[in-house]
Amino acid sequence: MATLEQTGSPDDGHLGDGHRRRDFINIAAVSFAGVGAAAVVIPLVNQMNPSADVLALASIEVDISAIKAGQAIKTSWRKQPVFIRNLTPKEIAEANAVPVSTLRDPQTLQERTKEGKQNWLITLGVCTHLGCVPLGAGEGEAKGDFGGYFCPCHGSHYDTAARIRKGPAPLNLHVPDYAFKSDTVVQIG
């Protein structure tokens, strides 16, 4: 005859140490469901990343032969503006006259340009504060207190080596990877 005592016997799954086989099955099943749910999150998160067509952006080649000393052009690379500037000897001298240790993001003009092409300053036209396009590349635009670029959004001033000198931006304008194909053609990216 089944009694209350008998239902508590090891026969119904108790392993004798207070755990039942069912406890193990419960934990295993819920854990595995958790692993499954975590796996499903991966594609849901990953779909947000740049898609293949956005990533498949070829590098661009730019003809710089028409840019005279003191002039600059804006071009577009990866949907972002790029400034190509032909520095005058005076601007180069100004950039080199600044003691590097006083800069927020210490870099020399030499480090930011190619050997023997120190007059060609090529940077992204994206302010390192919050991503606006600084002024200064176009004819007649404000160049800021240091003669380089000036971001109108929050008042960051860049010097003639596009280094941050004043305002909220933390870094110098980014120098993308580029190479001179010839004296007049530069490949960006």
Binding site: P50, V54, C153
Partner: protein
């Protein structure tokens, strides 16, 4: 939950009785915004703004769903599709202007609603959860408004998206990957526009859901009132319907008159002309500012122009801007004064109005050109904003000697609040 003397829903018609036994939805409405919800009898017109915010959300959802029928979330044609809504779609101009100005009015009434809560201590026990959910709604509103502003894909849309997603790049190490992940590219483009459209459609319904929680948590202790004194008995309350449905109805009429005035006579007053220029990733507008309702926070962001300790200026600005809102989550515990209504807090009253002036000043500075004076003034005002919550409020709530409170809402109503505010023993009944 409600007060024990709340009127009970008792359907008389057989059909409503049949429905009540199967799906008591009319009972829910009766108890929430009908005669079954007792409300303090002394609410003033500042208590209209909750209902007005709900009405503004309704306007936004209805006009928004219709606009989505005519809008194309594609970077190549988004701008043109908005122009087609304005010129070609029947009544499209009205619906779009109503949606654009409706957002402004939603923020106007919500800001008044927030300052009402601040003045009358509606965030204090036992209504902390109402306040916390309200701050959540405010954050959701800001996200929704930002993403909606991107959709017309004009210059301000594009550069607003650029600047605001730029906030995330301030996070050390992982900032730039997060930004690229959010945008689905290196700069705002089609991918970003599409996901903003999707979320802009979703979030209003999330807001509606949180509003239900907001009202639910409000109805447990019941509404606060201008004296801040608890309801003591049936004589202190009146049923929500018809008393406050009528009062809110009048307020709604005034709100709609103001809304229509702007909508029909100055629909672009609060917008920026630059947003009628199609998005151009190669040219930032000379003077980029967000919509007016973000200006105080934008001023705080811009106030940080110098590195401090080991943290760069950019990260300080972003942290301060988010911190200025997140701080509100702690307000119920920062203000330890047991007196709710500022009417009875002579010292705090000064600082309340100082805060109002400070936020208005930040709003002005947010849209001003970043000259030396503007940056300095923003720094002072931003510092004061934080000082209000972190220094002034804890001290004031400890040292202040509040005025005597009325014994009950009814007494305050019958005696008039001026007489009631006089010290005990000197009252002239």
């Amino acid at each position: 939950m409600s007060f024990p003397w709340a009127q009970h829903y008792a359907p008389k018609h057989p059909v409503t009785q049949w429905l009540d036994e199967r799906l008591p939805l009319p009972r829910l409405v009766y108890n929430a915004v009908g005669a079954g919800y007792p409300v303090p009898r002394n609410l003033n017109y500042f208590w209209n703004f909750g209902v007005l915010a709900g009405a503004a959300l309704g306007i936004q959802i209805i006009t928004g769903i219709i606009l989505a029928m005519h809008y194309a979330a594609n970077g190549a044609i988004a701008f043109d599709s908005v122009e087609s809504i304005m010129r070609d779609v029947n009544s499209g101009w009205l619906l779009r202007y109503a949606h654009a100005n409706g957002a402004s009015f939603f923020f106007i009434v919500v800001y008044l609603h927030i300052f009402r809560g601040l003045y009358y201590g509606s965030y204090k026990a036992p209504r902390e959860m109402v306040w916390l959910l309200g701050v959540v709604i405010f954050l959701l509103m800001m996200a929704t408004a930002f993403m909606g502003y991107v959709l017309p894909w004009g210059q301000m849309s594009f550069w607003g998206a650029q600047v605001i997603t730029g906030f995330f790049s301030a996070i050390p190490v992982v900032g730039d990957p997060i930004r690229i992940w959010l945008l689905g590219g290196f700069a705002p483009d089609n991918a970003a526009l599409n996901r903003f459209f999707s979320l802009h459609y979703l979030l209003p319904f999330v807001i509606a859901g949180v509003i239900i929680l907001h009202i639910w948590s409000l109805h447990i202790p019941g509404s606060n009132n201008p004296t801040g004194v608890d309801v003591k008995g049936p004589q202190d309350t009146v049923p929500f319907h018809p008393y406050y449905t009528a009062k809110d109805g009048f307020g709604l009429g005034v709100f709609l008159i103001a809304f229509s005035t702007l909508l029909f006579f100055a629909p672009n007053l609060l917008g920026h002309p630059d947003n009628y220029i199609p998005a151009n990733p190669l040219s930032t507008p000379a003077h980029i500012v967000p919509e007016w309702y973000f200006l105080p926070f934008y001023a705080i962001l811009k106030a940080f122009t110098f590195n401090f300790l080991w943290i760069p200026a950019k990260l300080w600005g972003v942290m301060a801007m988010f911190g200025s809102i997140l701080l509100l989550f702690f307000l119920p515990w920062i203000d330890s004064s047991p007196v709710r209504s500022t009417n009875y807090r002579p010292l705090y009253r000064w600082f309340f109005w100082m805060l109002v002036a400070d936020v208005l000043a930040l709003g002005y500075l947010g849209q001003a050109e970043p000259s030396t004076f503007v940056v300095f003034a923003s720094q002072v005002c931003a510092a004061y904003y934080f000082a209000h919550f972190l220094i002034i409020l804890p001290i004031v709530s400890r040292i202040e000697r509040p005025l005597p409170l009325p014994n009950s809402i009814t007494e305050s109503v019958l005696h008039g609040e001026k007489a009631e505010a006089a010290p005990f023993g000197t009252q002239t009944a």
